[in-house]
Symmetry: C2
Subunit: 469 residues, 2 copies
């Protein structure tokens, strides 16, 4: 955020940087009055960023300059370590005030990240009502619609008029996460429809909600996966989505800003899984060395041990490779090409599955397509490699072992390896999806271990066939 009046160049990031410098100067001069005034004008996200950047024990002191409302909003924008630092430096009554001001989804997020003793103190200071609400929300499974929803929405009744609805929105709207989508519920809290403020504004005052509301509601159940919730937001261009329980009762809403966070989180998780890292909620800069080791070592260890098969294959054909020692030089290239080909296919298919573009029932269509693509890719690589081996390795580098037969062996192996890698790379993720495993697991590291072993076998058998060894 930036005061439009001060704009010299229209560059938002520069303006933010300049302001941070000014705030730091005020802090160093200990001009708390001016600092407080500036922070009150700022967006709560920027205040949280600024406070995080202070990074020392002056931070809680500066935080306490904020008004009660601003304090809660800034607090919601902190990450867990700063939240903990604040909680440990304020009084019980200050803490209680913040907890009551927080949206319940932000409070729940916080509870999931904080250490147990801090959680106990928070729960002790909260009112009984808030405590019950938080406890109820904490019971929804991780990454479910229930775990990301919030309780601060505007509910209307279908017999209300537009005028009455606006009166209700004005009365209770202040503290709601959104007022632009209102939820029409029956006496027993069953969801009957939704109505937007746009509908209300464009209608006459005496129209009844029942005649205005949209009964075609896009909704989620509390146990739905958060990924399917975010897919619906993007498909239907939603601002907010109601979450209902098994009986169709409205229990909460998910707003689009939470969906942006879900998308970031799910993407990070996919990246991590595909690189053989155990997924964690913590950002890189906040993860300790030991935690990083814990997240990375399982796959590394498993993949290293699985490579025993490759070693065994190589050992058992040792005599043959000794006859044609030159063949060994091309093993890394063949394995690399197989691994890269498989990674391309698996990544493309995994992404397509997660966007809902490919479904398990498309397995044969995908396989057939990858078969053709891999034939084209394999053929192009084989031809170029054949020419390269004869010209570069043979004539320029004077490698004596390169004969036409050896070049043909390596090139034909490339063709088969690429075809194998691409077809397996594209099929395994679909298979995983079918049996309910995250397809991302079937990505690069695992597939390359399989293709490594098979590449080697292909190479050895092609060599036997062509070179008669």
């Amino acid at each position: 955020m930036a005061e439009i009046e001060n704009i010299e160049a229209m560059d938002f990031d520069l303006l933010v940087e300049k302001r941070t410098d000014e705030l730091t100067e005020l802090l160093d001069k200990r001009d708390m009055k001016q600092l407080k005034r500036r922070m009150e004008e700022m967006n709560e996200f920027d205040v949280a960023e600024f406070l995080t950047e202070i990074g020392d024990n002056r931070m809680p002191m500066v935080f306490r300059l904020l008004s009660k409302e601003a304090a809660a909003e800034v607090f919601a924008n902190f990450e867990a370590p700063e939240q903990e630092q604040i909680i440990n430096s304020i009084t019980d009554s200050e803490l209680a005030a913040i907890i009551e001001e927080l949206y319940v989804d932000d409070a729940v997020d916080m509870m999931e990240e904080l250490p147990a003793n801090v959680v106990r103190r928070v729960m002790r200071t909260a009112t009984a009502e808030t405590r019950n609400l938080i406890n109820q929300y904490l019971r929804y499974p991780e990454n479910s619609a229930g775990s990301i929803m919030t309780s601060e929405f505007v509910d209307l009744k279908k017999y209300m008029s537009v005028k009455e609805s606006f009166a209700r929105i004005r009365r209770i709207g202040e503290d709601k996460e959104t007022i632009y989508v209102c939820f029409v519920i029956s006496a027993d809290r069953k969801l009957e429809g939704i109505v937007t403020v746009k509908d209300l504004l464009l209608a006459d005052d005496d129209v009844i909600i029942e005649d205005l509301m949209d009964r075609n509601v896009i909704f989620a159940s509390t146990t739905d996966d958060q990924e399917s919730v975010s897919e619906k937001f993007s498909d239907y261009d939603l601002m907010a989505m109601p979450v209902v329980d098994k009986e169709g009762r409205l229990v909460g809403i998910v707003t689009v800003d939470d969906v942006l966070d879900v998308m970031e989180q799910e993407t990070t998780e996919d990246f991590e899984i595909m690189a053989g890292i155990l997924p964690s909620d913590k950002p890189y800069s906040r993860t300790s060395t030991f935690e990083m080791w814990k997240n990375r070592i399982p796959w590394l260890m498993f993949l290293m041990l699985s490579a025993t098969f490759t070693s065994m294959i190589l050992t058992s054909f040792e005599d043959m490779l000794a006859v044609q020692a030159g063949l060994v030089a091309f093993i890394p290239m063949l394995m690399g090409t197989g691994g890269n080909s498989g990674a391309q296919a698996s990544t493309a298919v995994i992404r397509s599955l997660s966007l809902g573009d490919t479904e398990p029932k498309d397995a044969f269509r995908v396989m057939w397509k990858e078969w053709r693509v891999s034939f084209l890719c394999g053929l192009s690589l084989a031809v170029v490699n054949f020419v390269k081996m004869l010209l570069v390795d043979g004539m320029v580098l004077h490698n004596d072992v390169i004969t036409v037969a050896v070049a043909a062996t390596v090139s034909l192996s490339i063709l088969f390896i690429v075809m194998f890698a691409k077809v397996v790379g594209s099929t395994l993720p679909i298979l995983a999806e079918k049996i309910g495993v995250d397809p991302a697991v079937m990505a690069n590291p695992l597939i390359s271990t399989v293709t490594d072993a098979v590449s080697l076998l292909i190479y050895i058998y092609v060599a036997k066939l062509i070179l008669h060894i």
Copy 2:
């Protein structure tokens, strides 16, 4: 979407599936009247999905059942092939009606995807005003804020009262992408502030906009990257963001539904780049075999040819490896472990860079952290490998070449290789970001080619040192 009244089980996806079956039945019975009635009640995204699923020449006929407004909305939800099919089967006046109803960002998206001859026909049928607007928007660079913004927003003046503002929103709001955020501009169209409908609703009728508006505007410039726009939406929890030109004049707005699409698109692009695929806008299922070959072959070819270095290294140490033939068996495992370690580090750092959690200035902190993590990982792997080689390869598989010295050689190599791979894997993406190259390029395939060659050299020199060969 689903009629709440018909709900038996609260499962949204089942309800949608059931409805699609009913619609298909109506179509097969040729009950067009009933089909039209059902489609008019549905969400435009669902209608578009249903029409796409028809997948034959009945589709345009069913499309023409829709009312004028519904037609444009459904049309905007189509992908390019269906848009083309429709355009080729309707009259010029039907086409003109759809074009005028489209939001300009949807029209621009469409123009970028359609073949040239179809674009010409669309432009010919549009009014001069629409044509100029589309042409102006098409000039913004790809993936810039300008290229995703739209022109349908509510503008207010700061001297207006709340009552006058509501009157204006009611008058012009119908066709705007959002009415919930209104943009306050001066006589020369400079952006002065924003005001939300929530602010307006909670204020008295005679308050003046100037006293209500927020001057701390989060804005983008037309040339800003769309990724930085989507980051701001997620940081500041925005619904809409103004886009200004170099003089600070408001030229368009970006809405949160477009940001969801941008995030999906950017994620797909990152996945593709990291797997060595040239990024394309087309979903997997819509990409032809030839296009897939074109996107995949450049990196495969480049990486295959770069592996020439590895071959050369192996060839030049051929004599040495012949003495200790058993050493060859562990080369794939060492290269694989190096590749996996590098991929973990590069993926973690690339993701952290793209979330703004790590910045180029953190290079040394990242390197130091990876150094410690890689030492822990390398040590764990080395110890396990040492024991495994002596017990499994040596005693169970009776591999005679395995001595304590050989096991020590391989294990020590693992330690060095993992440390090299992790430090290089984490540093290259930061270097790329610093010099303005997409860090994702520095991901798996490229790094594994570098680590392959270096892993081999490390192995050979460790072997020379320990085995004295």
